[in-house]
Symmetry: C2
Subunit: 464 residues, 2 copies
C-alpha cells in the first residue's frame, strides 16, 4: 500500500515538475529506498522511508513519498532496500589499543594489565603510535557501523585529530591516572593537558572533549574533584571506569569504606554526562544513586566475559531505565571493535545470567547501542535516533549475505543476525564516510602500513 502510494507520488512529481518542484525545500542529502528504524520516542519503523539532511543535521524523516514531495536533494544515497538506523554508539573504549589486539589473551586481569598491557604501553605508546592506532580503530569502527565512540587514552590530542580526519564523532578524554603516563608524567601536567585539550576542541562539530579520570582506584579524591571542576567549566562529559571487577570493589571498600559509586557521589562527582564504564558490580543502592544523578553506565559484555570480570546487572538496569549504553572496550580485551557482535553478546549474556530468555529483548539491546549510548554520554539531544533536529549520523545495513534471508523482523535481524560486515553506507554529521563499503575518509592500505610499523616493537615488548 505504502509502496504504491510512493510510486504514485513519484509519478506525479515527474509528471508535473513545474508545479511540484518549486515547493520543495533544498537539502544536502537524501537517504532513500529502505526501512527506517528511527529509534524515536514511539520507535517508529518506516518501510519505504527516507531521511533528509541539511548542514549536518536531520531535517525530515518519513515515508519516501512525503520526503520526496517536500525536499530536493543535492546528493542521494540509495539504501538498496536495506535498513537505515542511527549510527551505533560505542560508548567505552581505548581506540589506539587496536595495535595491542591479541598480544595477551586468556590471562587473568591483573597479569594481563601488569605483565602485558602496562609494560607494552610504557615501551610503545608515543604520539605516532596513538595516531596510527586511532586511524586503524577508526577504519574498523566505520566499517562495522559505529558513528560515535567514547575514548580514554593518552596523547588524546592525536586521537582527536585522527578522529576528526576520519570523519567520526568522538567523545574523547585524556586519561588521568596516578602514575607516570606515556605522555604526562605528573597529575598537574595531565590536568593542564586536559584543560588545553578542552579549550582546543570545544565547539568542534565532531569532537566532544571530555575529562577522563581512570577510576576510583587509580585517581585520588583530589584528582576526581579537580576533574569534575574542570569538566564543569567547559560543560564537558566525564569518562571513568567504575566497578569493573570484584578486586576493585574490595580495594575501594578497604580504602574508602564504601562502594566506588558511593565514593563518587560523596565527592560530588556524579551528574549527567558522567559516563561510568563497565558497572559490573553495581549494587541496587549504587544504581539508585547513579540514576538519580543522571549518570550513565556503559555495559562492555565481551571485555567483561573475556577477562572474567563478572556480568553487569543488565536486567535490572533495563528495568530501572538507567542511562545504559554499550561499549567494546579496547581491542586488547575484546579483540575487535564490532558493535553488532557486542549487541548480540549483550542480549545473550543477559538472558544467560538472569536465566530468562525474555530479558534484554532485541529492541532493548538495539536501544543500548544507539539512543541508550547517547543517553549514557549525555548527548541524547544530538545523537542516538533519526529525528529532525538531531545530527545526521546514520548507517545502512544491507541484506547481501545468505544469513540475511529471510528477515521476518528487522530489529531482531539487527541484533541476532546482522554483522558489522553488513553495513553498506555510513553517514556522520551529514557526510558520507562510507559508500558501498568503501571508506571515503581513510586510505586503508596506508592505515595498514602505518599500523604495521609498530608490530615488531609491540611483540618485543611482550616477549614474543
Amino acid at each position: 500500500m505504502r509502496r504504491s502510494l510512493a510510486a504514485a507520488a513519484a509519478l506525479l512529481l515527474f509528471a508535473s515538475p513545474l508545479s511540484a518542484a518549486p515547493a520543495r525545500e533544498r537539502v544536502d542529502l537524501l537517504v532513500r529506498n529502505g526501512t527506517v528504524i528511527t529509534m524515536d520516542p514511539v520507535r517508529r519503523v518506516i518501510a519505504g522511508g527516507a531521511v533528509a539532511v541539511r548542514g549536518g543535521a536531520i531535517v525530515a524523516v518519513g515515508p519516501e513519498a512525503e520526503i520526496a514531495a517536500g525536499y530536493r536533494a543535492r546528493q542521494t544515497l540509495d539504501a538498496g532496500g536495506g535498513l537505515m538506523l542511527p549510527g551505533l554508539v560505542n560508548a567505552h573504549g581505548h581506540a589506539p589499543m587496536s595495535l595491542f589486539r591479541g598480544v595477551a589473551d586468556d590471562q587473568r586481569l591483573m597479569d594481563w594489565l601488569q605483565k602485558f598491557i602496562f609494560p607494552a604501553e610504557a615501551k610503545n605508546v608515543t604520539a605516532a603510535f596513538v595516531r596510527a592506532g586511532t586511524r586503524l580503530a577508526a577504519l574498523e569502527m566505520i566499517r562495522s557501523g559505529t558513528t560515535t565512540f567514547a575514548d580514554m587514552y593518552y596523547f588524546e590530542d592525536e586521537v582527536a585529530r585522527a578522529t576528526k580526519e576520519a570523519g567520526l564523532r568522538g567523545v574523547l578524554g585524556e586519561t588521568l591516572i596516578e602514575f607516570p603516563a606515556p605522555d604526562n608524567k605528573t597529575m598537574p601536567e595531565a590536568l593542564a593537558y586536559t584543560e588545553a585539550f578542552l579549550k582546543r576542541w570545544q565547539g568542534d562539530p565532531l569532537i566532544v572533549p571530555a575529562v577522563a579520570p581512570h577510576s576510583v582506584y587509580l585517581a585520588k579524591p583530589e584528582t576526581l574533584r579537580a576533574a569534575r571542576a574542570l569538566a564543569d567549566r567547559f560543560g564537558a562529559p566525564l569518562l571513568i571506569h567504575v566497578s569493573e571487577t570484584m578486586d576493585e570493589q574490595a580495594q575501594v571498600q578497604r580504602e574508602h569504606g564504601k562502594t566506588p559509586v558511593r565514593h563518587l557521589a560523596d565527592l560530588g562527582f556524579l551528574r549527567k554526562g558522567v559516563v561510568m564504564a563497565h558497572g559490573v558490580w553495581l549494587s541496587a543502592a549504587d544504581r539508585t544513586i547513579a540514576r538519580q544523578a543522571e549518570a550513565g553506565v556503559v555495559h562492555c559484555p565481551q571485555s567483561n566475559m573475556k577477562l572474567a570480570s563478572g556480568a553487569a546487572p543488565v536486567k535490572e538496569m533495563l528495568a530501572e531505565r538507567m542511562r545504559l549504553g554499550l561499549g567494546t572496550d579496547g581491542a586488547a580485551s575484546n579483540n575487535d571493535l564490532d558493535m553488532f557482535e557486542e549487541m548480540l553478546t549483550a542480549a545473550l549474556l543477559a538472558k544467560q545470567t538472569s536465566n530468562d530468555p525474555t530479558v534484554a529483548p532485541a529492541a532493548a539491546v538495539l536501544e543500548m547501542a544507539t539512543l541508550g549510548g547517547a543517553r549514557a554520554l549525555g548527548l541524547e539531544d544530538r545523537i542516538g535516533s533519526l529525528e529532525p533536529g538531531k545530527r545526521a549520523d546514520l548507517i545502512v545495513v544491507g541484506f547481501d549475505e545468505a544469513r540475511a534471508w529471510p528477515v521476518h523482523d528487522p530489529v531482531s535481524h539487527l541484533v541476532y543476525t546482522a554483522k558489522g560486515a553488513d553495513v553498506r553506507h555510513s553517514v556522520i554529521e551529514g557526510r558520507i564516510v562510507m559508500r558501498d563499503r568503501k571508506v571515503l575518509t581513510l586510505d586503508a592500505s596506508r592505515v595498514r602500513r602505518e599500523a604495521a610499523a609498530f608490530d615488531a616493537g609491540v611483540r618485543a615488548s611482550v616477549g614474543r
Copy 2:
C-alpha cells in the same frame, strides 16, 4: 628465512624443469602461500606452508618449498598470505530451520517450541521447504567456513541431496520423534524411512547417514533401542539431544528415576559415534559415563544462552578431554550458522561462568570447532585436521578487514577476531567450493528466490 628458502627452491625448479619435474608427484590441487594451522597431534603451525591434495584426500602438508619440490599440481589455490586451517565442523543443527530465522525471539523455551516452532513446522515443512532451507543454510555455512555439519530434521533425504549438491559434508539423520512429524506420521514409518536412508547414502563420499532419535524425553526406550540397533547394522553415528534444559532433567528424572545419560547408558545406547547435543546439565557422573563410552558432546553456546537453557560445563569437559565439539543449533535459536561467532561465544561464556579467564583458551576453542567436532562425531580418522590421509576439507581465512591488523597470534586471531566473512576460499573433499568468496556450487540468487517463496507462509503460521 623460510620465505627465502622457498623462493630459492622455486627458482631452482623453474631453472631446471627437465631434471626437477620428473621427480615430482602429480596431485590435483595445491593450496599455497599462507600459514597452515594443521591441528595435527603436535599442533604444528607452518608459516609459508602448503597443502597437496589428490583424489579428495590430503597427500602432504609442509613448508611450501618442500611441497613444491615434491608435488606438481593440476590446480593451485593461492591463500594470499592468509591462514589455512581445517574446515569448521558444525556438529549440531537443523539446517532447514534457516527459513524460521527470527520468527520468534526472546521467548521462553517452551513458548518458543509450543507456540511458534512446532506449529510453524506443522504448517510449513514440506520436502520443498526442506530443500530450500537446506540450500540457504548450505550457502551461509560455506560462506562462513563450515565444511562439515551435523543435522537432524525431517525429509532428511532432501537435506542429503541438497548437501551433496552444495559440495558440503554432512552427518545427517531423520529425526525420530514420538509425535506425527511433517513427513513420517508413525515411529515404524520413521524407522523404515531411516533404514532406507542409511541404505541409500552409505558409502557416499560426502554424506554420512546417521540415526537421530530426538531426545530421551521425545523417544521411548524401545525407539532408542531400535535406533541403536539400526545404527549398528550400518556402522552409523547416532545424533540425539541430551540434557539441554533443567526441565528435561526433571522430566527424565521423574519418568525414569535417573539422568538422561544414565538412562541412555542403561539402555545400551552409548558408544563411539553417539553425538549428544547440548549437554548443558551433564553431571560429573554423566560425563564419566559418556567419556568411557567414547560418546561425544556438542556445545551450543549461542542457542543455550538465547533460550536461557544454562551453560554447559565446558571447563570440566575440556579438562576431562571429552570428545567435545561445537554447534550452532538451528537458525531459529541462534540466529545464524556462523561457527566463528560460536567459537568466540564458547570462549567468552566458559570464562564468564567459571570466573576464570584462563579457561577455554583460544587453542582449545579452535580445537572444539575442528578436531573436537570430528571426535564428537566419531570421524576423527577422516576430518578435523590437516594431515596426510585425511579428507581434504580446508578453509583459507584472509586478512582484508581492518580488524585483522595486526595479527600477533594466528590462533587467537581465529577465535577472538576473525569472522565468517573473512573466509576467502573453501575446499571440501578436495573440491574448491568457494573461491574469493564466490560459492561455486550454489547460485545465490536462485537460493534466495527459492527461500523467499516460503516467507509469507511462515509469517502467517506464527501470526505475523
